[in-house]
Point group: C2
Chain length 358, copies 2
Amino acid sequence: MGDEISQPAKPRISRRGRGSTTLADVAREAGVSPMTVSRVVNGEPNVVAETRQKVQAIIRSLSYVPNPAARSLAGGHQLRIALLHSNPSAAYLSELLLGSLAEAGACNVELTLEPCFGAEKAAVLVARLVNHRIDAVLLPPPLCEDPALLQALQDAAMPMVQIATGKTALFAHAVSIDDEAAAHAMTVRLIGQGHRRIGFIAGDSNQTSSGLRRLGYERALSEADIALDPSLIAAGDFTYRSGLAAAERLLTCEHPPTAIFASNDDMAAASLAVAHKFGLDVPRDLSICGFDDTAMATTIWPELTTIRQPIAEMAQQAIRMLTEAARARLSGQEDAPRKELFDFALISRGSDGAPPRS
Amino acid sequence: MGDEISQPAKPRISRRGRGSTTLADVAREAGVSPMTVSRVVNGEPNVVAETRQKVQAIIRSLSYVPNPAARSLAGGHQLRIALLHSNPSAAYLSELLLGSLAEAGACNVELTLEPCFGAEKAAVLVARLVNHRIDAVLLPPPLCEDPALLQALQDAAMPMVQIATGKTALFAHAVSIDDEAAAHAMTVRLIGQGHRRIGFIAGDSNQTSSGLRRLGYERALSEADIALDPSLIAAGDFTYRSGLAAAERLLTCEHPPTAIFASNDDMAAASLAVAHKFGLDVPRDLSICGFDDTAMATTIWPELTTIRQPIAEMAQQAIRMLTEAARARLSGQEDAPRKELFDFALISRGSDGAPPRS
DNA sequence: TTCTGTCATGGTAGCGCTATCTTGCAATCA
DNA sequence: TGATTGCAAGATAGCGCTACCATGACAGAA
């Protein structure tokens, strides 16, 4: 029995870990095997209702939370989804990030960011993604309409989802709102308020959503039997500055409109500035509506009536689609690209109203 | 030899995993033990230079990337840092998110988001954090100045860092810029351009940075021997609307200023709107400067000269501080709160210039 | 009854990495 | 000279979970 004398006192109880409750603790407490607990946690079938409930009760009483690291290690691998972004100050980015991050946590996928600026060739970027073991990518605007990038991604068989695009690629998933319907709704609202001369500031002609918004505007007009007046349509490119010029043109034309519907909030804000310069009161003398519900819409005064996209929800759904697609791809299945349309919301604020009597 | 007949063909080669290169692969290739590779990867000492280089070469040639899940599982546990946020549309949020996410990836910590709205009691929120096994929190404005929250966090001994606060708590880490110095620099610039009557729009008096910015303005004036004129200081609360009223007051007073320095970009943008309403050309008739360099600064026309905080870098440093603090706390050490000041940048754009001759 | 299925559950073996201990060997000490 | 250090490197044992069988029980089919 000489081997009982002071050995280096093996620390058998614990070494690492914060002593947080584990699946094994739950199993012991519930008197079942770890596997059964695992099945319950993952909502798998083949567990009798009674057992399931017992286990769930113990889980709750121990406030057990699965360890994601162990899960992804044992589960084969964790998915990595990259969010490509080209414009760090874009208004939608934080909402997008918020939505995708929340869902990424829930799906146990790792979300990484990949800055993506023009200088770099699409092929090089995609090679980097593959090297970083990215399983799928999230493509916010304007990246989601870059043909070279889309093609390179497709060549690498990388699952992807286009966010808020007007032009969905055949092979990509997409989440968006119906731009045409939204513009239509806004125009209908204006018509309903009594406006007959409604100015429209178009967006950048390179982005497909611009055309869609314009189509919605035109359809509403024609449905209300209002003749389309080309002098009421001004070109813009989504920038404040272009909105300034467009609004100025619209308000100085022979028969100025009683309302301006700008294709985004920046240009609507510019219209507001021009209106004020001309001594026009908004909405008394002129109604102004925007599109996108960016921070700008509530910053300025009066606050903008505008269209809101449910960016956070869209991001959430996008992550889900990618998770499925990536898992399908890994198991060799085909995964047909889905296009999901979300409901937009017309946010009514103080920048529009009935046209002046005159 | 009967046991050679068709057994269920044990899949011994692989079951899971994408076959990506592992630490063991590197070890085999380099002819060393896995532990040595681990030491090299983690930059630990006690590896002879020659071995280290050989291993590093193999790592590169195999383009090996450590599996973070396995790492945190084996390493005891992964840190979880929560980013508390109360305002999803705040301009700084996406930059903050970008910076912290990038650093979180590098430090192998999990970043989670915790929405945090007024209705909820601070104690309840903190209890939830503890329950979610959050190890540390990131506190962006305006949360970073909420005394109840700070206190509750402190009671839970939760490491925290205040981002861009004017009022650092004793027990918290903090990353910020020197608001006073920044406002001073901007005012000096304006004085250097020849302005003598410089209007100032103050920020919300509840936020400490407001006072600091005002102090910087006043110091620059007094250093230039310009008497402080109370009629040139207007109250604001960081909203566009308050900026509208303040600018209107400033521009309609008896001796209007030739420049307006607003305590943030929103109020500067409002000042610009008021100036245009009064038919003033910016910067010819009136110079306008902002603070924060939000998206608004480059949206409007002319673009705003303003002060930029390196939010992304600050976030990065914040994550690093929290990682250290949390690890220190877990190993029972004290961790003295550090306050780090970052360099701001004065961004020169088109909204300011020499005062009019008259 | 005996043979299949089917289904709830358990056992075993890792996932890829790191903590901890141990070994081997040279430099240093008594 | 042997005992002691110091340090590089290896061996071992899990971290917490899940994939993949294996098992046993009980149903219906033969």
